[in-house]
């Protein structure tokens, strides 16, 4: 399934970094390209599940927030983007950061 493009597995580094630097716009361009390829193969859409923990463990939470803020609240494309946080990561964010996350996601799951 990986060979025919149905599944793509990527490390955080491979997906977000070029020559050791964050290239978030490139990540988004790649995401869009993946979606186009899926649609061209006759799929109904593309689902991306991203573990956001490395942004925190690599002391790059501001990069993570910048990434979230570039992504729209809703896409007019058949894309499902799931940003997965641990409770420990979320609790490191201040109120303005949380507000930003609210503004850029269509749904929040797991809030108490």
């Amino acid at each position: 399934m990986e060979e025919n493009g149905r599944i793509r597995l990527s490390t955080f580094h491979d997906w977000h970094k070029t020559d050791g630097k964050f290239e978030l716009q490139k990540s988004i361009t790649r995401l869009r390209k993946k979606l186009e390829q899926s649609l061209a193969r006759g799929r109904k859409g593309f689902r991306c599940f991203e573990d956001m923990s490395p942004f925190f463990s690599l002391d790059s939470k501001h990069e993570g927030l910048r990434y979230e803020s570039v992504l729209e609240k809703k896409f007019d494309l058949p894309l499902v983007a799931i940003c997965a946080y641990t409770r420990q990561s979320i609790e490191q964010l201040d109120s303005p950061a949380i507000e930003l996350l609210h503004q850029h996601h269509s749904r929040l799951i797991g809030s108490p």
Binding site: F12, R47, C48, S53, F75, T86, D94, G110, S111
Partner: protein, 191 residues
């Protein structure tokens, strides 16, 4: 304190809606009250027939069904509900200890049943056991165009649910899927 990390007043549309069916009226009463106190919307029935008659697709985040009920067992009810709402997520209640793997090997056609809950159970323990199912149910109902944030209590839970979520995309939604993580060696997922 923030809205993801501390209790916020939920709007009705944010609340989880559950279906609870058990022929023991006392259990229905106690569990439904307890879940409502924890902020859930609960439709509770002691008659599986009535529950089935009222059942509608895309209404519930989770159904909790007792296995042993007269007239219509929990398994029969599950099969009928699946015909109406193939995406429904179900947990079973049982008076006997039954492990998920054991259950799946006995009933391979019910492979999507995530949790078997042993009675009696406290509300807090029930919530603990159903929370992963509620999250996967919410993710399973994701529609194209959604940008979703999901919070997991542990990183282990995050990784387990990631694999479940991608499986749904691949097998049920006809989507291609991608997982970005450093948590598990990519080779292990491939195998």
């Amino acid at each position: 304190m923030n809205c993801l990390g501390s209790p916020c007043e939920p709007t009705r549309s944010d609340m989880h809606r559950m279906l609870l069916v058990d022929d023991e009226a006392d259990i229905v009463d106690i569990l439904s009250r307890g879940l409502e106190l924890k902020g859930m919307l609960v439709d509770a029935y002691s008659s599986p027939r009535q529950a089935l008659q009222a059942f509608k697709p895309n209404l519930y985040d989770l159904a909790i069904l007792d296995i042993r009920m007269p007239v219509l067992s929990g398994f029969q009810l599950y099969r009928e509900m699946k015909k109406i709402d193939p995406a429904i997520t179900v947990c079973f209640l049982s008076a006997f200890e039954m492990y998920s793997n054991e259950f799946k090997s006995m009933f391979p056609s019910m492979n999507d049943v995530k949790t078997i809950i042993k009675k009696p159970i406290s509300i807090n323990e029930l919530l603990k056991q159903i929370t992963p199912s509620l999250k996967i149910s919410a993710l399973a109902r994701a529609v194209p165009g959604e940008h979703i944030l999901v919070v997991f209590e542990t990183h282990k839970e995050l990784v387990e649910q990631a694999l479940e979520c991608l499986k749904i995309g691949l097998l049920e939604k006809e989507e291609d899927v991608m997982l970005v993580t450093d948590a598990i060696p990519v080779d292990r997922i491939r195998n």
